[in-house]
Structure formats: structure tokens, C-alpha cells
């Protein structure tokens, strides 16, 4: 059985948000005001007082991006877990189990790959779950990202990559660093198939994730207020020994510095992505460079050509 058989065995997941809030009011972590939870849900978890975009789970993200909240999650191939037998104050293997029970995603890691339709057109989404060890990228995430790219190619669908990650999974050492080239290759494969890669940068996108596939989309969209950058703010402040300006590394700051195409509020994301796909997906995708005919007849007759200068 090939890896394709593996990834093509779909598994429908329960839709909608798992986590029912204990109380009906949620405090906005930006303005501090209380928001009624039903209002928050209806507003895609955007604060109705200050517009702050609260962090959301991978599952919620998929639900509101795909048409009618319908999608098929792709089961991921198994990968080596804990390749270095890493242990800090806790065993990495225990941290993994904790994260899995916290996110309720069974054996999966910090990423979900799903396919469905956006604006009536097929699309593949690879979305990070920040709640799973800070969305950090290790082997399992890299592997899932590669399979997302291959699924997109197979379905002739765009790849929508949605990072929410603090960077590399330190507990996998150098092997987590190697997921940078792996995800870069994945993006290249989709591009070579003539298909669009759309990256939606969400809060936060930093470190090794920002410095690999996340910055290589054909289109880069950022969510309002998202922190996006390579080095951590504190590391920079310690290095340059000065305070950084307000909003440094925010989505808006990046837009101002030419690093993203647009900053789009959560409520408008699905429409924006659908419009982009409609522009970029062509009936017969091709990435080949075609040589123009260069026969003698095709060239203008030198004698009848207009004077070269004048």
C-alpha cells in the first residue's frame, strides 16, 4: 500500500466547537471587557468591543473557512515520536500525551489537514493548532504538511496553509530544524503543479515556521493583530538594548513594511480566499515556460520595419 492510499482514507470528524465554556461570559484578553459567549461564537471569536481576534482552535478554523462548515480530515501517516528520547523537566513523550488529551485530537499532532470546498471550489487546508505545544513544528507536522501539499496536487486544488506556531519543536532537536526545508519543498511541489499556495498568517507565526513555508505563499494574508516575525521580541530587545515600537511585528506592521499582501478580518476571510482561488485556479493548470515561436516568418521584415531611432 502506498502512502497515497494511506492519506486518501478519509475520516469525517465531528464538526463545531468541542469546548463549551464553563461560564457564559468570556473576558477579552486585549481590552479586558466581558463578552457573551454566544456573541463571541457568532462573531468568529472576535471581540465585539475592541475587534481583538482571539486565538481559535484548528477545528474552529476549518469549520468557518470551508463552505457550510463541511470538510474531510485526512488521517496522517505515523511518524517517529520522540526521536531523541528528549527529556527536560518532563519527558517529551509525556508532554506529547498531555497535549493530545488537551486538544482532544487523539494521536495527531499540532496540525490538521483537511479538504473541502471554499466558494464552491475544492481546497486543501493545513492548519496549525497553537494549543498543541505552541503549534511547534516537528517531524509529524512536517510530514502532515508534505501530505497536504501532495493532496492539493492530486486534487488540483489550492493549498491553504495556516500557521499558528511559536516555531520549531525543540524537543526534536535538529530534526525539527529539518522540517524547514521539508515544508519548503512541499510548497514548491504545489507551485510547480501550477496551483496556488495561499498562506494565512495567524497569531503567532514566528521562528522556524515563519522562516520556511509561511513566507513562501503566492499570496500572504494576515489576521488583524497577529504577531508575525522571526526573532522573539524579548530576544531582540535584549540584543539591541532598546524598546521596540508599539505594534512591532504585528500584521499591520508587516503590511506597512511590504511583507504581506493584506490584513483581513476573520469574518471576511472565507470570501477573500474564495475570490483569490477563483482568480488563480485555471481550468488547465500549467507551470511550464513555453517557448515562443521564433521562425523567420514570425519576425517582422527588416526592410519594412520602422526606423530604429528617430
Amino acid at each position: 500500500m502506498s502512502w497515497l492510499d494511506n492519506i486518501m482514507r478519509p475520516k469525517i470528524r465531528g464538526l463545531g466547537s468541542r469546548e463549551a465554556p464553563d461560564n457564559l461570559w468570556v473576558k477579552c484578553d486585549s481590552c479586558g471587557q466581558m463578552i457573551f459567549h454566544r456573541e463571541l461564537e457568532a462573531n468568529h471569536k472576535v471581540c465585539n468591543h475592541c475587534g481583538h481576534h482571539l486565538r481559535i482552535s484548528a477545528n474552529e478554523r476549518l469549520t468557518f473557512l470551508f463552505d457550510d462548515g463541511e470538510f474531510t480530515v485526512i488521517e496522517q501517516p505515523e511518524t517517529v515520536t520522540d526521536p531523541l528520547k528528549f527529556r527536560d523537566r518532563k519527558r517529551y513523550s509525556d508532554r506529547l500525551k498531555e497535549a493530545q488529551s488537551k486538544t482532544g485530537t487523539g494521536k495527531s499532532d499540532a496540525i490538521i489537514v483537511a479538504h473541502g470546498k471554499i466558494g464552491g471550489l475544492p481546497a486543501v487546508i493545513a492548519v496549525f493548532d497553537f494549543k498543541f505545544m505552541g503549534g511547534s513544528m516537528g517531524i509529524a507536522v512536517g510530514e502532515a504538511f508534505v501530505s497536504a501539499a501532495r493532496l492539493a496536487t492530486l486534487q488540483e486544488a489550492p493549498l491553504i496553509a495556516i500557521p499558528a506556531s511559536g516555531g520549531a519543536r525543540m524537543q526534536e532537536g535538529i530534526l525539527s530544524l529539518m522540517q524547514m526545508p521539508r515544508t519548503v519543498i512541499a510548497v514548491e511541489e504545489v507551485k510547480e503543479a501550477g496551483l496556488p499556495v495561499i498562506v494565512l498568517l495567524t497569531d503567532p507565526t514566528t521562528g522556524g515556521v515563519s522562516a520556511s513555508f509561511a513566507m513562501l505563499g503566492d499570496i500572504a494574508i494576515a489576521e488583524p493583530g497577529a504577531v508575525i516575525g522571526f526573532a522573539g521580541k524579548r530576544v531582540i530587545e535584549d540584543t539591541i538594548r532598546e524598546n521596540l515600537p508599539e505594534g512591532f511585528q504585528s500584521a499591520e506592521y508587516l503590511l506597512e513594511h511590504g511583507m504581506v499582501d493584506m490584513v483581513v478580518p476573520r469574518g471576511e476571510l472565507r470570501d477573500t480566499i474564495a475570490r483569490l482561488i477563483r482568480h488563480l485556479i485555471r481550468p488547465k493548470a500549467t507551470a511550464e515556460v513555453v517557448a515562443l515561436p521564433r521562425t523567420r516568418e514570425a519576425l517582422p521584415d527588416a526592410s519594412s520595419a520602422a526606423p530604429a531611432d528617430g
Binding site: 532537536g173 522562516a211 540584543t239
Partner: protein
């Protein structure tokens, strides 16, 4: 120019003995005493101590050796191993970044493009090269040079020695993440032979940007890691005092990385590390680089690119046994 040798903490007993040898030599010069036998005996002891110490360096000790200020840096290797080096500057977009040096050169008679992160060797040169921490301009210059190599079918050799990309305000504003990502992309894409050598510190994304190559060599006591042991300790152990423990856990030595399939081969260092005998390390790298390039030269560009992709797609398929 005479430079005072720097001794690492764990080299202290060796340093003391070497000091005594120097003293004795000085005495014999003045007094005409015949103490050559004693000196020989002591020198043998130094060698034995070096052998024992360096044959079982801990990962943290390797980090210190890899950062040793007297260790040869990229420009030293370029000068020793390459001829007719023509330094090329600038990213054609914003500026010149001396943290990354590069240009055209001749290696064993054939033209190549050589690119390296350069740390500098004294205060002035360290400042000039920003301690080997590159800004986006450095990575964009590297991309430009790699494309230049591709255009003229020249093999690319990169020399990696950096604690990481520069964490600065301007660097972020000018797209440090994008510059590194693009550098990895170009490194993976070029249709010419590519060989990276981790000569000292291979620090995170800043190193990865130049190391997505067909072949990766690593010096015996060099280190290559996703994060510095200090950084890892302060995040996972909540104190940088645990750097030594973190260095162990990260599996960042050349020996570990070879087992993990991340690097292709290890270049042996002279007794007591590369900083103790420059000529010997230059020769050792020369002897490793030539066959590494020979293996790739002559292969079709598309094949080189496909092999490179295949190799990196396999990364992480196996852990330490």
C-alpha cells in the same frame, strides 16, 4: 602578529602544563641547563591529556570548542583552500551584509561559488562581520550568488559558522523570515552541485539557510542545532544555568547528527581541536571537500535537484537508536 592563546575551562590542566614547559624552555635558554628530556616528557604528557580530553568531549564542551575564538573561520578556509577568490558584495536591493561573505573562487583548478558566514577574529573584524549574525541582506546576497553559480554551472560550497540570524529591529522590518525562507528555497532549487560544511556553530534557521545542500559535511567538534543550548535551557528549564543539560538533550554533535542522517560525513580535527593546528584542519577539510564535490560534478542539474529534495524529504524518518 602574536595572539595570546585562549584556553577553555576544561583545558586548564593542559594550559598549566604548557605554561611550565614554556618556563623551562626559558630557563634553559638563559642558564644552559640541559632539560630537553624533561621537556619532551612533559610534552608527551600534554599530548596524552589532549587526546583523553578531546576524545570524550561532552556536548557542552563541543559547543565551547565550536565557539573557540581562535578556531579558523570562513575567510580563513577560503584563503587556505581556494585560489583567485573574487569577493562579491551586496544584495542589489538594500545593502551589503558582511556577516555573509562570498564570491567566485577556484577550487583545485575549477571555478566555484563559495559563501560563508564569517564571525571575525578580533574586535574590529567581529564588528564588521556582526559576529557572524546575518541580516536579510546577507541571505539575499547569498541567494543572488547561488543563482549566479547556477547560471554559469558552477558548484556551490557554503561554510556555516553562525550563532544564528541577527535578532534586530531593522532585520525584522526588512523580512528576516522571508529572507531565510527564500534562501532555503534557492539552496534547494539550484541545478548545480552544492556542498555545505559546518565549520563551527550551525545555529538554527540562520545556518539552515545555507545548508539545504546535496552534501553536508561537519567538522568533528562543530555543533549544529535548532536552538542554542542557552536558549533552549531558558525556555524549557526556565534558567540558562541548565545550558549544559540542554546541550546533552539537543543531540547537537557531529556524531549524533551523522547517526540521525542529517549530515553526510565528519571531517576529523587535529588533536586538541581545529584551533590548535590550522594547517592540519585545512588539509583535512580539503581532503573531504574534494571527493564530496567530485561525487556531484557531472551529474545532470535536474538530477542534483531531485536528489537534494529526496534527501531532505527523508529527514526525520529515523531517530536515535
Amino acid at each position: 602578529m602574536l595572539r595570546m592563546p585562549t584556553f577553555l575551562d576544561f583545558e586548564k590542566p593542559i594550559a598549566e602544563l604548557e605554561g611550565k614547559i614554556e618556563e623551562l624552555r626559558h630557563l634553559s635558554d638563559g642558564g644552559g641547563l640541559n632539560i630537553s628530556e624533561e621537556v619532551t616528557r612533559m610534552q608527551e604528557k600534554v599530548e596524552r591529556m589532549l587526546r583523553t580530553t578531546y576524545s570524550k568531549l561532552s556536548p557542552w564542551q563541543k559547543v565551547l570548542v565550536a565557539r573557540h575564538p581562535d578556531r579558523p573561520h570562513a575567510l580563513d578556509y577560503i584563503e587556505a583552500l581556494f585560489d583567485d577568490f573574487i569577493h562579491l558584495s551586496g544584495d542589489r536591493n538594500y545593502g551589503e551584509d558582511d556577516a555573509i561573505v562570498g564570491g567566485l573562487a577556484r577550487y583545485r583548478g575549477a571555478s566555484v561559488v563559495v559563501i560563508g558566514t564569517e564571525k571575525g577574529h578580533d574586535t574590529e573584524s567581529r564588528l564588521k562581520h556582526n559576529f557572524g549574525m546575518a541580516r536579510p541582506e546577507g541571505y539575499r546576497k547569498a541567494q543572488r550568488l547561488m543563482r549566479l553559480a547556477e547560471r554559469f554551472g558552477l558548484p556551490i560550497v557554503t561554510l556555516v559558522d553562525t550563532s544564528g540570524a541577527y535578532p534586530g529591529k531593522g532585520a525584522e522590518e526588512r523580512g528576516q523570515a522571508e529572507a531565510i525562507a527564500r534562501s532555503i528555497e534557492v539552496c534547494l532549487d539550484v541545478r548545480v552541485p552544492t556542498v555545505a560544511v559546518v565549520i563551527g556553530e550551525g545555529g538554527s534557521g540562520g545556518a539552515m539557510a545555507l545548508a539545504a545542500t546535496n552534501t553536508v559535511l561537519m567538522l568533528e567538534h562543530a555543533v549544529y542545532s535548532v536552538i542554542s543550548p542557552e536558549g533552549c535551557a531558558s525556555i524549557l528549564w526556565r534558567t540558562s544555568d541548565e545550558a549544559e543539560t540542554a546541550a546533552d538533550a539537543l543531540k547537537l554533535t557531529a556524531q549524533n547528527l551523522e547517526e540521525l542522517g542529517v549530515i553526510d560525513s565528519i571531517v576529523p580535527e587535529p588533536l586538541g581541536g581545529a584551533h590548535r593546528n590550522r594547517d592540519e584542519i585545512f588539509e583535512a577539510l580539503d581532503n573531504a571537500l574534494d571527493p564530496a564535490l567530485q561525487e556531484l560534478v557531472g551529474l545532470d542539474g535536474g538530477v542534483l535537484r531531485a536528489k537534494r529534495r529526496e534527501k531532505f524529504l527523508e529527514m526525520g524518518k529515523k531517530g536515535l537508536s
